[in-house]
Symmetry: C2
Subunit: 498 residues, 2 copies
């Protein structure tokens, strides 16, 4: 076994080297790479992805992985790690190479057509592709020869252990309790957020971000670097090399601020994982929902709290004395927490956000159980927005063409966004028992809640499952009620509801 | 042969993929990568370098390369390309792997010790390492079993076809004709360049660079990207993906400007090479001197010309109205062409620059023929600076510890810096016969000289040798006299010498 474990460690290292360069190529492409060089880079990136594919699905190594898995004398982390690698490899290796490559090509093609369809507001362009992708996904998942329904397999890919049986009651609760709340809020007096939409020059926003906000968030240049892109994201080469981006919007003072808090939340998760896991599959974080729970935790539970702004707002005013000098903290705090139904998920407020996800979940489920068809899917989409949020979608670009996910075959991902927020609420409830979160934020101590997250969640990486972590931290299983309670309390108070 | 050529093309492509990611890792490390992530990245970068090493020295491919070389039915470019790959591989493959790896480790170690020695101004720290590097280089080159003297082998590595027999008369001419000129200039009335050293805020310099200078130089965002680093450099992933850097110095208005013109000169060379050579060894440029000839051509022959500033100076004044608004063009032009002996090569003016190189050439030659020892080399160095430039070096950091080259074993590289300037002068002389260079610059047309360089030099990449290009463009062999004449005329005029 010793020599096999040596082979395994070498294989892991090799895998991590290719993953590192592919991450870097991706970061570089999105941030600064000159576009005329894309074709050259892409050809070679595809070649290196192929190398990574061959390494990760090496048959000899898969046998070793199985041996590790079945050797109960080995330590828990090692076997957990091997099981994750094995799952990843076996999900791909069962697919014939030509089928897999055809699918990759379909995805490349469909991305461009989705872009065009979105740009021209024409769902009919994208519809045949969407149908083809769904059919291909069914075929691909079929090779796994799993007993589970197709959509459950996909949900499980992003959120291990999840299924429609897990998500259904969650979204049922969201629907039952949040839709009435949203209705009540929409009838209450509207919060005026016009002060957020004055003209805020990008260079001063950038100065605030780099001189105050990033240092306040302890996003240190020694392990983190922030750049600018059209769509903010976080990526990392290792736990001490985290890259985030933001976007400065000149008629919105909080867009870059909240995206910065959100993305550095992902970065903190990656940075805080036990160093023993660096470069291993255990360093990726437990699941999509768990990662999203951390970024949204930072953005919403911390970043949109009153205490956060008690400390930070005077600093923001210093950078924008003419624009905000006379605006009271209270006005600003209420403005950043305005809730109002809107068509775009990524711009949605904390309260209406899960409804956007609910709609996508219901549609994905229907697309895979056959109860919803891609034909006239734009109508289905618009009907749901009318029914749940009371808004009329008039353009496909603001409707079902807004998100990139389906064009790249990522079905089953959306639900993790809402689940992440719900995980976050349960953690927040627990954190408040351990820590004077608001007191810490009020005194400018952002590290206190981050340290709590590190100790209780981040450090474990993927060595525990999401439910194991929740059970360990909260002493009980996941409960969506914490999330709903939090939203009810927060928005009840903000909008003066009884 | 057809199937072998297919194997060869696949091998070239593979090689180019690894080279691309290694370049990107290097660019990233120097520009933005968080330092705490270095160790993780370096381990994996070393692994990928090993992969590249194994691919580039593949024995089976070396046999195919030899077959290509000896097949006279194949086209010239293909055989030239194969010969360059073969030379590169055979120079390494003759070295036993452990000897090669030991050398790599020595270089890594010596770099850090050089840094420390430079920082503490203590040559004695670095001396044992320098001795060891020289001995190792001798051993390494010895494996080639070449008939040539060691230093000739090294000169030839950077400048194919060169040798001491080639450089000796060149530097003899430099010495004979430039030393007296420098002496005369130093006795003439000193040019006042104090206006260059007022306070010039970095953000306004940056605005000038990005809003005016880079567009003026036609360094387009579609194929080029400029960043900032301590030491400006140029690197490229492909001809349509060129990365340069600069450094903004707040008490020097021209430092960033000339480094930008210099580095984009390298970038233009890489960008203009025939697209058929992209990704091949033929795309690297003919030689170090030829590359340097292009960057220094842009920096000096174009960038320090009167015509260049006739167009650009009013734009610079627009960005610095308080600092330069009242300063006449003539004062500015003379200031950027001030010549005065100084200890640091990279900060030297156009006239004294080749003397810095001459000193290094004489020392390197002596170190390898045994006439100069590493012991008390600081004294040898300082003696030469006193003799040739009339200056006293009081600190090793301003003396023989100033350059990184020797710590990384790069002997034979320095001479290409001076040779590049001399190539440039010969090209410039020829260009003036084809093109109204000054008229073009005066009207803001920087592309006219660049197009000439593309047609006559850049496009060929390494498919021709430096001497073939010079012969083809200038209708005669390389002659150092053009360089000396240019300097005599320019500085004679500037300093009012007869």
């Amino acid at each position: 076994m010793t020599s096999k474990l040596k082979l395994y460690q070498d294989w892991k290292f090799k895998l991590s080297a290719y993953q590192m360069v592919l991450s870097l190529l991706d970061i570089d492409r999105i941030t600064v790479a000159p576009p005329d060089g894309n074709a050259y880079r892409d050809e070679r990136t595809a070649f290196l992805s192929g190398e990574l594919f061959d390494i990760s699905t090496d048959r000899g190594m898969m046998e070793i992985l199985q041996e590790i898995l079945s050797d109960e004398t080995l330590n828990r982390d090692l076997r957990k790690e091997a099981s994750l690698y094995y799952k990843e490899a076996s999900d791909i290796v069962c697919i014939p190479r030509d089928v897999y490559l055809d699918y990759k090509k379909l995805i490349e093609r469909s991305y461009l057509i989705w872009l065009k369809a979105k740009y021209t507001d024409d769902y009919s362009l994208f519809e045949p592709l969407l149908r083809e992708i769904i059919e291909s996904r069914k075929v691909l998942i079929g090779y796994r020869k799993s007993d589970k329904p197709l959509y459950d397999e996909m949900l499980n890919d992003y959120e291990p252990g999840s299924s429609t049986a897990f998500y259904d009651p969650f979204f049922e609760t969201v629907k039952e309790r949040l839709l009435p709340l949203i209705e009540r809020v929409s009838k209450a007096e509207r919060i005026d957020d016009s002060i957020l939409h004055r003209y805020y020059p990008a260079d001063r926003q950038k100065a605030f971000t780099h001189e105050f906000l990033l240092p306040f968030l302890h996003f240190e240049p020694s392990w983190g670097y922030q750049n600018e892109t059209e769509h903010p994201f976080t990526s990392w080469l290792s736990q001490n090399d985290c890259r985030t981006t933001t976007k400065y919007v000149e008629n919105d003072i909080v867009s870059a601020i909240f995206s910065t808090i959100h993305e550095t939340g992902h970065a903190w998760y990656a940075h805080n994982i036990d160093p023993r896991y660096d470069g291993s599959i255990l360093s990726y974080g437990v699941s999509s929902a768990m990662h999203e729970s951390q970024s949204r935790f930072c953005e919403n539970y911390l970043g949109r709290s009153h205490a956060f702004w008690e400390y930070c707002y005077p600093h923001l005013q210093d950078y924008f004395p003419a624009e905000l000098g006379e605006v009271p903290l209270e006005t600003f705090y209420r403005a950043v927490n305005l809730s109002t139904p809107s068509p775009i998920r990524t711009e949605a407020d904390e309260l209406t956000y899960p409804i956007h996800v609910l709609i996508r979940y219901e549609i994905e489920k229907g697309l895979f159980d056959g109860s919803i068809s891609t034909e006239r899917l734009d109508q289905t989409w618009n009907d749901k927005y009318r029914e749940y949020l009371g808004i009329e979608i008039t353009k496909a670009s603001q409707g079902l063409l807004q998100d990139v996910h389906w064009s790249s075959g990522d079905f089953g991902y959306f639900p993790t966004y809402a689940l992440g927020s719900a995980f976050g609420a349960q953690f927040y409830h627990r954190m408040l028992q351990d820590l004077d979160v608001n007191g810490a934020l009020r005194s400018g101590d952002y590290l206190a809640p981050i340290s709590w997250l590190k100790t209780n969640i981040h450090q474990y990486g993927a060595s525990l499952t999401a439910s194991e972590i929740i059970q360990r931290v909260c002493g009980e299983a996941f409960k969506p009620e914490y999330y709903i309670d939090y939203l009810e309390n927060k928005y009840g108070e903000l909008y003066g509801l009884d």
